[in-house]
Amino acid sequence: MFRWKSLTAVVAVAALALTGCSASDTSSSGSGSDTLTLGVIVQNTTFEAANISFANESPYGQAVYDTLLKEDPTGKLLPSLATEWSYNDDNTVLTLTLRDDVKFTDGTAFNADAAAQNLTRFRDGTSPNASFLAALGTATAVGDTTVELTLTQPDPALLHYLSQNAGMQESPAAFGAADVQTNPVGSGPYILDTAKTVVGTSYEFTKNPDYWDPDSVHYDNLSIKVFADSTSMLNAIKGGQVNGAKLADNTNNAEVEAAGYTINPFELDWTGLIIFDRDGSMNPALADVRVRQALNYAIDTKAMLTAVGEGLGTPTTQIFPTTSAAYDEDLDSRYAFDPAEAKKLLAAAGYADGLTLEMPSTSLGNPAVFTLIQQQLKDVGITVNYTDTGTNFIADLLAPKYGVTWMQLQQDADWALINFELTPNASFNPTKYQDPKVDALVATIGTGTEDEADAALKELNAYIVEQAWFAPWYRVQSSYATDAKTTALMQAGNAYPYLWNITPAS
């Protein structure tokens, strides 16, 4: 028997749902002037300070945690929880003077002991950036407001690291709490509203009423929304649902601008080839600098920029960023596209009849890139054999299983970049290649005066370009979109503008 009454009720409910549209509620869209809604492309891996990530995840951490130091958009150090800092003569002991008026949101007071514990935990944790504090020997509280960091070796980037995740301060009372990964307790400008947050999708924060630096907090509420899919991100932008958003790529820039948003460009990454096998242990040809230089000459970097980079970026053959003392504008065109020169160098190195390179490919990258590399190298007599590494791409690179690879890497601050890509223990020097000249220059950069370090940086950059450790193509433009109500200052060396630099447009 059909239940007409219940069917009518169902129809009524459905009709209600359908007509509810006309009374469309926008009050909860979160784009009011008192709420800052940010679009991000990654979910938060963890809120636990000891394991926390940075870069694209920086707004999560910066919302709830204070850092010991801060940096302005150009990378200049500023005081934060630490008001003063100084090194001893040989740069192995760093003394920080801390604020005495800061409380964590659970009421625990912030002091030198808490700072010491946080630093040690970060060093020993599993943050992607745990190695930032690799040089930290001990962190000791000297009184309530002074913490002393003893280093096993000088680290010119330490102060910079303390302005990022390595310097984030969590309440010691929350250490080891069962929900520490999803319920952060910091002293930062906002408090995570765990009841309204959907982990992995949307994170809702309210202003910390007792924040010690209220002038740096520009909104009463903060909402961070994850858009793993670029179409939904674009729809949110077109619908005016976000105030600021990092765009996953530049393919929709025109539509974003047409929707009334401003594109704030910044160059963070370089892309091109990394030639890991500089000592030729996997392929003897790569030990010859002429072969490595030939790889630089063989690729039409401007065409690559147009074909796969949407024309948004700057051709270069160096890996240091323009903000670095190492940067030399002339090096941007050291290896202009010249296949004849590439052939000549290969012939001189004894590979006139050609050469075969084993390289990894992955569906995680743009497939056109791999095809273009293969075509252009073939034109100068280099045969490329690809192995599809799938999701193991980075693991296989760092194993190391390949002498040459396509890659895109961030342009960190100098010391970080050196220790990430150049030194024998650097992650992206998996063959642990060592060159006495590089070692000496790095030592000067680590221990010398500022002038000595700057001169050594310039020399180091010129040397590795000449030695063709890499074959960079161009610096990739990243884009950050802001709506008409919002202004954002891009941060040197970071994938996301710093939270306090995102402000209501005046």
């Binding site: 992607p128 190695s131 690799a134 929304k225 619908g239």
Partner: protein, 313 residues
Amino acid sequence: MFRFILRRLLSGVVLLFLISTIAFTLLYLGGGDIARRILGQTASAETVALKSEQLGLNRPVLVQYGDWLAGAMRGDLGSSWFTGQLVTAGITSRLSVTLSLVIGAILLIAIISVALGVWAAIRGGWADKVVQAVSILGFAIPGFLIALGLVTLFALNLKWFKPTGYTAFTDSPSGWAASVTLPIVALAIGGIAGVAQQVRGSVVDALRQDYVRTLRSRGLSFNRVVFKHVLRNAGGPALAVLAVQFVGLLGGAVIVEQIFAIPGLGQVAVQATTQGDIPMVMGLVVATAAIVVIVNLLIDLLQGWLNPKVRLS
């Protein structure tokens, strides 16, 4: 009836075990370097090794699966490797969202397809042809295209709805309706096409039966015969198709939730699967398999209620 339910529940448990074993094996085979993927390219080899050890990834596969199974039987599905959230919390917080989409879509499908199917069967002629044509069209257009079209027209151009996001019913009923309407319509269109055809066929078949003629000859009005008897007989096959639709909609929700950035099971399924977040994916497998078992059981019971002959078989 009790034994019937018990038997179905038991076979559901066996099914869950089999599915979870297969899912774990497949995930493990395609796993790759999970610790590296969690930490990213900036992490040092030592940190990656430490993370691997913390997650217990260096143990044999069988031990890892045994641990997962033992935990699952206690109701502990572990924590997501990529967000640290408890899997049970992650699923329960999203279940209501997906269910509200899928149930909404099923209701919409049931109402519209029954109306269309009956209309086409009774009227015949041009009405039948129109319904068939519309059905084929609805079937042929991929769900994601329909979703994108709906967003562009109704959210971005007309601004009647929000293009992305979800508002909980408890926060704002009208906001909830505005956030689920487009996804529900997007989900339902393909289903309406399929079920309307099925209903039409069943009603046409039923109308040809002898009992219809008998009833009509006893002076019952055509409407009374159709709505009281024909529909009841045609309802069984339609219900079976709806059950299949329900399972299909769970899959369709994956794409629709991505497009509308709705925090449902589909969205977390995409994230977790592409990342290789084994605990989360296993939790989702268990949850969806359980839903499917329950839905099939309910449909069987409903069919038994509609048609007593089913109970005997």
